[in-house]
């Protein structure tokens, strides 16, 4: 999917950076799960640059952003989770991520 936006994509993170998913407001539509909001994880992969879903869904000419796969420890998502090594991965655009101490941003 392409867009007419021509900005230089926002890309603040690299693989291995620690991030927190922002718990911010949105209007009607978001693809950031409630269960991931406020949770800390690690950048596992840089995927592609594209419009964020929140803009795309309303056909808004927003900014092109880097999308990342973030890896969470299951125990960080669900405190009662019994297996310490299990993980969950999901995808987020740059604006939904907040850097933790080891990232420059």
């Amino acid at each position: 999917m392409s867009s007419s936006s021509k900005n230089t994509p926002v890309c603040r993170f690299k693989v291995g950076d620690r991030v927190r998913i922002k718990d911010q407001s949105w209007l009607f539509y978001s693809r950031v799960q409630l269960y991931a909001r406020g949770v800390e994880g690690t950048i596992a992969r840089l995927n592609y640059t594209d419009l964020v879903a929140e803009d795309e869904t309303f056909n808004v000419e927003g900014e092109i952003e880097q999308h990342y796969i973030v890896q969470f420890r299951q125990q960080d998502l669900w405190p009662e989770y019994a297996f310490p090594n299990d993980t969950l991965q999901s995808e987020y655009p740059d604006r939904w991520l907040e850097p933790l101490n080891n990232s420059q941003a």
């Binding site: 999917m1 799960q33 269960y35 995927n47 999308h67 991965q89 999901s90 995808e91």
Partner: protein, 246 residues
């Protein structure tokens, strides 16, 4: 209780239940949108029929072939893991074909997840039903159910065990929740007992469920059959209330 004909000796006959399934809101929405698109000339009814017939008949065979090839050819495996869209072309799937807009997948960033002796992947879409349709065809009904979607992210091991897959505790279970524009498929490990097998033989045991991650390939397992548990209290066999005469 009642018999198949609806007669049960109290002076009248019950009419049979209507054989109409309830139509969902989404079906209504789809019909409305489709008719509007046809009316506005985005595509014709014939094009829609042609495309639907084509999309409906895609099965998981290309995915099975991709995995079998990768098991036999380390170079191809590397390509699957680094550029899955390019690797797809080797098994006849061009994610941008035929419309140029990526359909029948809504998005075209394809990623293959490699299982290892210490890592087991399983895919889900908690928000809706994102699925690598060009590779695996339409998703099974349970993949789209809220039951699977909401439970897999939180209790993956119990859900996997319901499919008959017990993952040892020392193996990491990694759930991939495809919530944006990537589409994922699992590349399971080649099982023991398949030495010397041809690509065709290997492809046979890589079933759809293995590529979702709710099953592991095994020699002899060539279909996704789920156990059917008989109802303990089937309809029509309710125990009689206490005190009712035989």
């Amino acid at each position: 209780m009642t018999t198949a004909t609806g007669g049960h000796d109290h002076g009248h006959i019950h009419p049979p239940a209507p054989q109409v399934e309830e139509i969902s809101d989404y079906s209504v929405l789809e019909i409305a949108l489709r008719e509007l698109a046809i009316e506005h000339g985005l595509f014709t009814a014939e094009e829609h029929l042609h495309f639907t017939e084509w999309a409906e008949k895609i099965g998981p065979a290309s995915g099975s072939r991709l995995v079998a090839k990768a098991w036999l050819d380390p170079e191809f495996k590397k390509l699957c893991l680094t550029d899955a869209n390019a690797a797809s072309k080797a098994v006849g799937v061009d994610w941008l074909d035929p419309t140029g807009a990526g359909t029948p997948s809504d998005y075209t960033h394809f990623v293959v997840l490699e299982d290892t002796p210490t890592l087991h992947h399983v895919i889900v879409c908690t928000l809706c039903s994102c699925y690598p349709r060009p590779m695996l065809g339409n998703s099974p009904y349970w993949y789209r159910s809220t039951n699977y979607r909401r439970r897999l992210v939180r209790w993956p091991r119990p859900v996997l065990s319901e499919f008959g897959l017990i993952v040892p505790p020392e193996v990491e279970v990694r759930v991939e929740d495809s919530n944006q524009k990537c589409r994922f498929m699992v590349m399971p490990m080649r099982p023991e007992g398949t030495d010397g097998w041809t690509e065709d033989q290997l492809a046979e045991i890589v079933t759809r469920d293995c590529m979702i991650g709710v099953a592991s390939p095994k020699p002899g397992r060539t279909a996704d059959k789920h156990p059917i548990h008989k109802a303990r209290h089937p309809v029509g066999h309710e125990p009689k209330p206490m005190g009712v005469a035989e």
